[in-house]
Symmetry: D2
Subunit: 358 residues, 4 copies
């Protein structure tokens, strides 16, 4: 029952890794919203696998078919359905996984929940492939946000042991945020890109994987959006961010570091700046009381190492009732972080647009 989310722009996703295809339905898009297929394809390509040795060698073009909701290049306002057919499945790779549960994966939890009826091939509905529909929606949302002067950008703040510098919490330029899109390993300190790549390739060589952190900034959000309590901006963003597979942590502004601060340090002093109210720090990540305060929205997301690794791992075999050692065959991402960047951006853009439409 978790297929649908959003208050003003409701997205429903569907599909399995090795079924006919995956896709989405978007409800609530303002009629006349431009659907820029070229830009959407670019965004989808940023997430698509098979581009280099840092990602799985599964070749998925992520070509999409708009089934409904678009007429003469614009959203009609009625539900927009998109299909993304599966093409390069190797179903035989996964047959052993019907009973042998991959550590760190949803296999066991999903099997209990779905009583063994779920499609276990390639992770089924739990596959990271299901993030492709999110990127479609994010691309549409970014188009609308851009027209309102809002830009969402992200960089890789960490892969394994390598850390990038962080965003200036008071705001980055639109230009810098947009240029990050052009890199497979978007970083602020360009010297860190090759180091991160080395970290990923070394893990790949070892039959292992690495995790990382993505940092996101949205500039241009007006103050006064969001709600106290159960629909705080943090609540809504965290809700969708934690729905992205492999995310294990979300922190806004100073995040966990704020726990070690005193109020004098943590509070963001306020001042008039060309008649606008701004703060001189941004430890709150642009959100106070659950509501945007006009400063850049800023947060970081922790992403775990891809659980699919080829190294031998201890696990259970539910058919035999015995403990076994499992080596996962197939094609895997040694690091999901670069492909997660456009996904994290996408759910952010979707949520910010959802807030703006109130």
């Amino acid at each position: 029952m978790g297929a649908t989310f959003g208050r003003n722009i409701r997205m429903t996703i569907f599909g399995e890794s090795h079924g006919k295809g995956i896709g989405l339905v978007l409800d609530g898009l303002p009629p006349g919203t431009p659907i820029e297929e070229g830009f959407i394809k670019e965004e989808m390509a940023r997430r698509a696998p098979g581009k280099n040795l840092m990602s799985t060698q599964r070749k998925e073009t992520d070509a999409f078919i708009i089934e409904s909701g678009v007429f003469e290049g614009k959203a009609t306002g009625t539900p927009l359905c998109v299909l993304i057919p599966n093409s390069d499945q190797h179903s035989r790779d996964y047959s052993i996984l019907k009973y042998q549960m991959r550590p760190g994966h949803a296999d066991y939890a999903g099997r209990v929940k779905y009583k063994g009826y779920n499609d276990y091939r390639g992770g089924g509905h739990f596959s990271g492939r299901l993030t492709a529909p999110l990127v479609f929606t994010g691309a549409v949302a970014k188009t609308v946000l851009a027209a309102k002067g809002i830009t969402v950008g992200a960089h890789i703040a960490r892969i394994g042991k390598v850390k990038d510098e962080l965003f200036d919490p008071l705001g980055e330029s639109i230009d810098r945020l947009q240029k990050l899109r052009n890199h497979i390993l978007p970083v602020l300190d360009e010297s860190k890109g090759p180091l991160m790549e080395a970290e990923v390739l070394k893990a790949r060589e070892d039959g292992d994987s690495v995790g990382g952190v993505v940092e996101v900034m949205a500039v241009g959000m007006p103050p006064g959006l969001g709600d106290p309590f159960f629909d705080s901006v943090e609540s809504r963003l965290a809700h969708v961010l934690f729905s992205v597979p492999a995310v294990k942590g979300v922190e806004f502004g100073a995040g966990f570091a704020i726990a070690g601060m005193r109020g004098t340090e943590a509070n963001d002093p306020m001042k008039f700046d060309c008649n606008q109210v701004r703060t001189t720090k941004n430890n709150n990540g642009g959100i106070t009381g659950g509501i945007t305060n006009g400063m850049p929205v800023l947060f970081r997301v922790a992403i775990k190492p891809t659980p699919s690794i080829s190294r031998s791992q201890q696990t259970v075999d539910l058919a035999s009732g015995k403990n076994v050692m499992l080596e996962i065959k197939g094609r895997h991402d040694p690091c999901i972080v670069p492909r997660a960047v456009p996904v994290i951006e996408a759910v952010t853009a979707w949520t910010l647009l959802d807030l703006l439409l109130e």
Copy 2:
């Protein structure tokens, strides 16, 4: 529009710090649920202020009146309304705050959102006082969970510079989890309690405040609860956790540290243990693919220093359009973390019960 949340147990909260009172409506409680007023009062008392120098001196008994939904000591199954009248307001303390925006508070964001119509006295609806209704619901939920063998416990993992040890991720005993309830500063390493208290009292002396981290564990949760994507257990927990004022970060299992791990380290190997499937580590915090896997649910929450401090701070005066220095009068918590513990436990218990009722 953020007053109501929950899928199977829907809570609606209302009230302002300096209005007649605050309260809640609970819809969806199973008929016959015991409403143990004694236990509820104990839980409310854990959150109530005025007990010692670590909290605000505002004396609120948080006495509650059950208006509906309880008959002969049991939940009827129809909506349960609870009123918590306000008693010890000092409204004059706050009058200057109509136009002078407190840094780190919701004042400015709320003023923009509500166009100046919101009740600014004592933070109004944004007041931490609004967490009292959450504790009521948490207490009811804990009673139901206990009958199903599920226990939620929490300790203060950090205040300012002082860190406690962390929970054993493979599980703590029910007894240890429950005993934590008896302490104003619940810690695992008892030597840390006095150090944390000193940290708080020093901040108080300085007219300042400190933040911290709360760690939560729920043992006894069965596997198979939750949903992939938009209703993952992490999504639902993070949603309510980020609705608690002052929370700026949430991380599950190994959390942000997982970003620096490799898959071999991060993955939780699985084995049969007395016919039950268990993992030998718990870096996933009991949740994989958004669904419980039978291991303890484990997470940490970052809490910012109370933004209300008596030290002079730079801010804006919306009446004069000028930058001013503000000293916040009134009675404040030098550290909200100890009082946040029962609140964090409460929203956790509520959410876990919500999951169990599916």
Copy 3:
């Protein structure tokens, strides 16, 4: 789980007939909405019992206490809670009803649903008294609608055998719609009032009750509101109308009579009228494709006779497992229709405002 409804203005109701009180929480009111207590009291008085022999002699003033969400006479935009304390309960009247199920009432269905834990006194949460909170919300909504040129009016189209004439489907004057509020038996053909009153009093004399039909018109609704399919205006209105106790039918425009028409007769021809698009008939009741078309919104609601009658009735005794004859003591309305008029208007006004806020 049916206590909360509404997309943009969410109302939560609570309470039982013989508990401490009843009430509501309104979330989503635009900040600054005037809360006109005088007008609200007038509306509540229209619904209140005890005014004459046509209603129950239970004396309930329906005095209300605003607990939150109003500051200096205006809605703050945060949740508005209203308490309506119970005052004139005679709990002893109902004790026999714990096991003897009143025909036509929710007693048996509710007992099964709530497993015997519900408060059976006076119908508990199923009591018609729970419609008082609806009238509060309706009064607030009417104030907002009036400022936008929208008026909701209703008359009694039928009581028992006596039928009033019907509204002109092309629209009534605001003045005529508003004046209907001033009558206990609002009718278009004034000669029908005394006949209806006689019908009610005769039923009362016989220890019996009568049903009726209420017809509602809203003028001034702009075209283009509502949604196709699952959130059609008819769906949303019918949803709340069927939540009013005793409603057994809802029909829009020509309603059931349209089933006997041909398309040439049923279709509403369109024309320009002072640059506005209007129809020359209104068989669709102002709604086509689930969306308002700018014509008056028009519908009728069938209300069953009060099931509480003093005449002896056959029913079951769940304690003895035997069939018994039951005479319901206590104070009952011989006809609920007059008191239902302001309730039906109220849920209509609430829903129309909910639509307008999209």
Copy 4:
């Protein structure tokens, strides 16, 4: 924003009459639910057009493709997406309708709502064709209900001037209810079938259309399902029934006729019958207090004449700003009622299953 509905089984629909196709996503189906494609095809065929002179001559096979959510013939429990490609569109038939608004249709209301961006060809998203996805869901729901002893049946109670007899409110046999499925014009009094057919063919000959009434009964529903107030069974059924295009009235049990009754007549006396509590009448249509009472759920739905008729009609031309006479070309149903029967059954089965899963 009305594309998604349901509490436990959430359906999202999408598509336009003349786009690529239409379809649905079903979320919340219990894992292991049999997906019987043969039965689903039979149900879809009951709704499909082109079978005889009583329906439009558009030939749509309504062949469907299951994109996700089914594995080895059973529902996986993850979202089930179904595509129904469009095949026999004649888009040129509709081009004049961009500016000339068809009376009785959603054209004008939709144009205002969607600001002219909606796909106007063939009614676009408002097309009756969008009811095909509902039938798919209904067929799946019927399979599950049947396994629980619940049967939904319907007959045509009226077409134009011809009325069938009504269901025995105390219950029809499962056999009789099921056999109704086999008829294009399902009636209880078989002599009425030919008369209804004649009524339809006469309308067709006249370039006109006729409306009707569908009566539905569900037997086997257990007592205790549903909620008071905003989620009454009547509310939820009416919500989906009024989302079916052309429905203008819904009445439960005695419906509008109950308005003319006295309580002694309207109340349903209760008695033990083989240890089960039953009523000796069923004027409440199996629902009291919004909750099922164990008697057959019984209601009637008024359906308007197809607004598309070939007779000349007065309407507006939004391009010229002038009143014009419009003759609608293309292929139309002279009576939508026979094809509405399986649709009405379908949304009923869906809603009853939704209730059962609580």
